[in-house]
C-alpha cells in the first residue's frame, strides 16, 4: 500500500546548481537558434524539444518528481498529457493546424 519514496535519494545543492546551469544554457540556445536561418525548417520542433527538456528538468529535479513517490508523478503527468492532447485537439479543430480542415 505504502508507496515509498524512491530509494530515499535527495538531490544535493550541487545537483540543483548544475540543473540551473543547464536551464540557462538551453534558454540561451533557444534564443540563439531563432536567428540561425539554416535551422528554419526544423525550428518549431527544435524549440518545442528544448522547451520540453527545460520543463522536464524543473519538474524532475526542482519539483523532486525524480525522487518522490510515483503517485505524485501520476497525479501530475496524467493531467499534463491529457491537457496537452486537448490543446492539440482544440487548436486542430479551430483550424490552427489545418489538419482536419473544414
Amino acid at each position: 500500500m505504502r508507496d515509498e519514496h524512491r530509494d530515499g535519494e535527495h538531490p544535493t545543492v550541487g545537483t540543483y546548481v548544475r540543473v540551473a546551469l543547464v536551464l540557462s544554457v538551453v534558454t540561451a540556445l533557444e534564443v540563439g537558434v531563432i536567428y540561425v536561418r539554416q535551422l528554419a525548417p526544423i525550428i518549431v520542433p527544435l524549440l518545442l524539444a528544448m522547451s520540453a527538456a527545460k520543463f522536464a528538468l524543473v519538474a524532475l529535479f526542482f519539483m523532486h518528481l525524480r525522487y518522490d513517490s510515483r503517485v505524485l508523478t501520476l497525479l501530475f503527468a496524467g493531467p499534463l498529457v491529457l491537457a496537452s492532447g486537448l490543446a492539440v485537439a482544440l487548436t486542430t479543430l479551430t483550424g490552427a493546424f489545418l489538419v482536419f480542415g473544414r
Binding site: 491529457l82 482544440l90 487548436t91 479543430l93
Partner: protein, 813 residues
C-alpha cells in the same frame, strides 16, 4: 477528553469513547468543519435550489401546455429555461452528489473526516455564495436568458446588454472554485485516508465513482473557467475572444463549454451509478457482479468523457474527419456504460431480493437510464444527430439521463442512507408510492418529447401553433411534470414524518455490506470509536457472516497500522469561521464587479485577509504537523500536485486559445512586430533562477538553517518581483505603442494569457513573503518544511508554465 482551541482530542479506551457533543446552535452550523454536517448542509441547500428549479420547470411546462399560451412572456420563458438548467445542474444535482460524498465517503473508507475539513467547509460556503448570487439576478429583475450553455455571441454585450449574463458568469466562476476545491479534497481523502486494509480494489464502488468524478471536476472545470474569463473580459473590458468582426471563432466557446459540458454529464450521473452499485447488492443480498469491471467501466467512462465533447457540435460543421472521430469515440463510451447495466442485472439474477423503496429507485435508474443511453447512442451518428439537434428529442434524452439516471439514483441513495444520517427510518410505503408517482410522472413528461422532437418541435420555443401536431404531446408532458412535482412533495412529507416521529434506525437497518453500517445511526462526531478492520470487498458483510466469507476466505487482514489506528488518540478539528469569511469576501468581490470597483477591492481584501487567517489558524498546532496518509505522503503535498494537474488544464486552455487565434487578427500589430525577445529572455532567466533559490530555501528549512532559509526565501520572492517588474515594463511599453487588450485578437489573447500567469506569480510572491515573515519571526522550523515545499511546488509550476509560454508565444515564429 480535552478541548483545546485547535481541536478536540479524545483519549481513552476505544470502547469507552463517548459520542462527542456538537453544538446545535446557529454558530455551530456556521463554523462546522464536520464532514457529516457539511454533507447535510449541501443536501438541504441543494434541495432548496431543487425546489426553485422545479418551480421554474413547472412554469415552463405550464406555458407549453397548450398552443399560443400566455402564462409567461417570451423573454421570461428564456430566463426560466436558463435558470432552470443552470440551477438543476450546478445548484441541485451537483450539491446532492456533494452531500453524499461528504457524508458517506469518510464513513465508507473508514476515516474520521476528510483530509481538509476547513477546506471542505470553504467549498460549501463558496457554493452557497455562488448559488445565492445567481438567484439574486431574479431579485434584481435581470435573470440571465441565454440558456445554460450560454452560446457566444448571444452572451455578448450587443445581444445581452443587461447584467443577467454578468450574474451568470460570476456565479459560475464562484461555483467552479467551490467544486475544484472540493474535488482536490476528496481525491486526497480517498487516496490517502483509507482505513488500513482498504486497498483501492476493496473500496466500495460509490467511493470509486466519487474518485472518478473528482478527477473529472478538477480537470474539466478549468476549460469552462477559462471560457468564462474570456467572456468576462469581452463584456467588462472590450476584448475580442468571441467577436467575429475581429477574427474570432464562435466555435471556441462551444469547444470550451463542451470540453467541460460532456464530462459534466458524467460528473452528474456517475455518483448515481455508484449509489446503485451499493443499493442493489444490499437488497439482492449478493455481491456486486463483476465489481472490478464496474470500477474499470467507471474509470473508462471518465477517461473517454474527455474525448467526446464535439458530438454536441455536429451541427456546427466541423468537417467529416472530426465528425467521424467524435462519432467513434461516442460509440466507444457506450460500451463501458452498457457493461454496468449488465452487471447490475446480473447482480439481481438469483438474488434474495427485498423490494424496498431504495431498491425501487435503483432499479428505476437501470431501466430509465438505459432509455437515455440508447437515445444518446443515436446522437453518436452525425446524420441522425443533425435531425435531432435543437429538437425536443434532445430534451427528452438529457432528462432521461439526468432524471432517469441521476435523480432516481439520488433518491435511491436518500432512502438507503437516510436512516444512517438521521437515525430514523423513512416510511417504506410512502417511499414506494413516491417512486411509482415519479416513475409515471417522469415517463409521461418526457417520453412524448421524443415524438415531439421527431415531429420537428424545436427546443427553447416559448409557444407553438395549434396545427403543428404538438398539442397532445405537450399537454401530456405538462401533466407528467406536475406528477413529478407531486412525487417530490410526497418525499417531503415522508421526510417530515420521519424526522418528527419516524421509527428509530438501528446501526445496520438493511443488513448492509460496507463500513458505514458498522457505526451508530447517526454516527458519532468521530465516526468510528475504533478504525474498522478491512478484510476485503464488502468487509462488514464478511465480518458479520462468519469465517468462510470472512478473513479466512483469503482476504488479507488489516496491517498492524490498524491497531495503531485503534489505540491512537482521536483528534477532531475545531470549528472555524474563516471559511465563511473567505466565501463572503469572494461574493463581495463578485457583487462589486456588478456594481462598483471599490466593492471589488473590498471583497478582494477580505478574501486575502481571510485566506491568511485561514492558513495561519493552525500554524502552531502540533496535531496538524504530521498529515501523512496511508500512501506515506503528506495530504497537503498531494493536494498541491492535484491542484497543479488542474492548473495544467487551465493554462493548456489559455495557450491553446492563443495558438488557435494566432494570425487571425484583422488588424495589427502581429507578434513579431512588437514582442521584445531580449527583454523577455532576461525575465525568463530571472524566473528560472528564482526556482534555484526556491530549492535552496527548502533545503535550508529542512536542515534547520534559519539564516539561509530567510535569505533564499527572500531571494526567491525578490526574483519573482523582478519578473513582475519586467512584465509591468513590457505591458506599459506595449500600451504606449498602442497595443492593448482591445487592439486585436492577438492583444486579447496575449494580455490575458501572460496577465493570468503574472497573477499566479504575484500570488506566489505573496506566499513566499508570508513564509519569509514567518521565518523572520522564528516561526518556520524544520517541522514546517512541508509548507515551504508546497509553496515551492507552486512556484516551480509557475516557472514551467513560463517556459512553455516563452517558447510558444515569444520564440516560435
Amino acid at each position: 477528553m480535552s478541548a483545546p482551541s485547535s481541536g478536540r482530542v479524545l483519549h481513552g479506551h476505544p470502547s469507552a469513547l463517548p459520542g462527542v457533543e456538537t453544538t446545535a446552535t446557529v454558530l455551530g452550523w456556521l463554523t462546522t468543519v464536520d464532514h457529516k454536517r457539511i454533507g447535510i448542509l449541501y443536501g438541504v441547500t441543494g434541495f432548496a435550489f431543487f425546489l426553485l428549479g422545479g418551480l421554474e420547470a413547472l412554469l415552463i411546462r405550464l406555458q407549453l401546455a397548450v398552443p399560443h399560451n400566455t402564462v409567461v412572456s417570451a423573454h421570461a420563458f428564456n430566463a426560466l429555461f436558463t435558470m432552470h438548467g443552470t440551477t438543476m445542474i450546478f445548484l441541485a444535482i451537483m450539491p446532492f452528489n456533494a452531500a453524499f460524498f461528504n457524508y458517506m465517503v469518510p464513513l465508507l473508507i473508514g476515516a474520521r473526516d476528510v483530509a481538509f475539513p476547513r477546506l471542505n467547509a470553504l467549498s460549501y460556503w463558496i457554493f452557497l455564495a455562488g448559488g445565492l448570487l445567481l438567484n439574486a439576478s431574479l431579485l434584481a429583475g435581470t435573470p440571465p436568458d441565454v440558456g445554460w450553455f450560454g452560446y457566444a455571441n448571444l452572451t455578448s454585450k450587443h445581444y445581452a446588454p443587461g447584467p443577467g449574463v454578468d450574474f451568470w458568469i460570476l456565479s459560475l466562476q464562484i461555483l467552479g472554485v467551490s467544486s475544484v476545491i472540493a474535488a482536490i479534497n476528496f481525491i486526497v481523502t480517498i487516496l490517502n485516508m483509507r482505513a488500513p486494509g482498504m486497498t483501492m480494489m476493496r473500496m466500495p464502488v460509490f467511493v470509486w465513482m466519487t474518485l472518478v468524478v473528482q478527477f473529472l471536476i478538477a480537470l474539466a472545470f478549468p476549460p469552462i473557467t477559462v471560457g468564462l474569463i474570456f467572456l468576462m473580459f469581452d463584456r467588462f473590458f472590450g476584448t475580442h475572444f468571441y467577436d467575429v468582426a475581429a477574427g474570432a471563432d464562435l466555435h471556441l466557446w462551444q469547444h470550451l463549454f463542451w470540453i467541460f459540458g460532456h464530462p459534466e454529464v458524467y460528473i452528474l450521473v456517475l455518483p448515481a451509478f455508484g449509489i446503485v452499485s451499493e443499493v442493489l447488492p444490499t437488497f439482492a443480498r449478493k455481491p456486486l457482479f463483476g465489481a472490478p469491471v464496474v470500477i474499470y467501466s467507471g474509470v473508462l467512462i471518465g477517461f473517454f468523457g474527455f474525448g467526446v465533447w464535439s458530438h454536441h457540435m455536429f451541427a456546427a460543421g466541423m468537417g467529416p474527419v472530426a465528425d467521424s472521430a467524435f462519432s467513434i469515440a461516442t460509440m466507444l463510451i457506450s460500451i463501458p456504460t452498457g457493461v454496468k447495466i449488465f452487471n447490475w442485472l446480473a447482480t439481481l439474477w438469483g438474488g434474495t431480493i427485498r423490494t424496498t423503496a431504495a431498491f425501487h429507485f435503483a432499479v428505476g435508474l437501470v431501466g430509465l437510464f438505459t432509455i437515455g443511453g440508447l437515445s444518446g447512442i443515436m446522437h453518436a451518428s452525425p446524420p441522425v444527430d443533425l435531425q435531432q439537434t435543437d429538437s425536443y428529442f434532445v430534451v427528452a434524452h438529457l432528462h432521461y439521463v439526468l432524471i432517469g439516471g441521476s435523480l432516481f439514483g439520488l433518491f435511491a441513495g436518500a432512502y438507503y442512507w437516510w436512516p444512517k444520517i438521521t437515525g430514523r427510518l423513512l416510511g417504506e410505503r410512502l417511499g414506494r408510492l413516491q417512486f411509482w408517482v415519479l416513475f409515471a410522472g417522469f415517463n409521461l413528461a418526457f417520453f412524448p418529447q421524443h415524438y415531439l422532437g421527431a415531429l420537428g418541435m424545436p427546443r427553447r420555443i416559448y409557444t407553438y401553433p395549434a396545427d403543428a401536431g404538438w398539442t397532445a404531446g405537450n399537454f401530456a408532458s405538462t401533466i407528467g411534470a406536475f406528477g413529478i412535482g407531486v412525487s417530490v412533495f410526497l418525499f417531503m412529507v415522508n421526510a417530515w414524518r420521519s424526522l418528527r416521529r419516524g421509527a428509530p434506525a438501528p446501526a445496520d437497518p438493511w443488513d448492509g455490506r460496507t463500513l458505514e453500517w458498522r457505526t451508530s445511526s447517526p454516527p458519532p462526531a468521530h465516526d468510528f470509536d475504533t478504525i474498522p478492520p478491512v478484510y476485503g470487498r464488502d468487509s462488514y458483510w464478511r465480518e458479520k457472516y462468519g469465517p468462510r466469507r470472512g478473513p479466512a476466505a483469503g482476504a488479507t487482514p488489516p496491517s498492524s497500522g490498524a491497531a495503531a489506528g485503534i489505540h491512537a488518540a482521536v483528534h477532531l478539528p475545531a470549528p472555524s469561521h474563516w471559511p465563511i469569511v473567505v466565501a463572503l469576501g469572494m461574493v463581495l468581490a463578485a457583487v462589486g464587479a456588478l456594481t462598483h470597483v471599490s466593492i471589488v477591492l473590498l471583497g478582494v481584501l477580505l478574501t486575502v485577509w481571510g485566506i491568511f487567517r485561514f492558513a495561519l489558524e493552525h500554524h502552531r498546532t502540533t496535531a496538524h504537523t504530521d498529515q501523512t496518509g496511508v500512501l506515506g505522503l503528506d495530504h497537503r503535498k498531494m493536494a498541491m500536485w492535484v491542484f497543479l494537474g488542474s492548473e495544467c488544464f487551465f493554462f493548456g486552455t489559455l495557450v491553446a486559445t492563443y495558438l488557435a487565434y494566432k494570425g487571425r487578427s484583422v488588424v495589427g500589430p502581429e507578434p513579431h512586430q512588437i514582442l521584445n525577445i531580449p527583454i523577455t529572455t532576461l525575465s525568463t532567466f530571472d524566473l528560472l533562477m528564482s526556482s534555484l533559490l526556491m530549492v535552496l530555501a527548502l533545503a535550508a528549512v529542512q536542515r534547520g538553517d534559519h539564516r539561509q532559509a530567510r535569505l533564499w526565501l527572500f531571494g526567491t520572492a525578490l526574483f519573482g518581483l523582478v519578473f513582475l517588474g519586467f512584465q509591468a515594463y513590457e505591458f506599459t511599453e506595449f500600451v504606449h505603442r498602442g497595443f492593448t487588450l482591445q487592439q486585436n485578437l492577438f492583444g486579447s489573447t496575449f494580455f490575458v494569457l501572460t496577465g493570468l500567469h503574472g497573477t499566479h506569480v504575484a500570488i506566489g510572491v505573496l506566499w513566499l513573503l508570508s513564509l519569509w515573515v514567518l521565518a523572520l519571526r522564528g516561526r518556520l522550523g524544520v517541522a514546517d518544511a512541508v509548507k515551504v515545499e508546497i509553496a515551492g511546488l507552486y512556484w516551480h509550476f509557475v516557472d514551467v508554465v513560463w517556459i512553455a509560454i516563452f517558447t510558444l508565444v515569444y520564440l516560435i515564429p
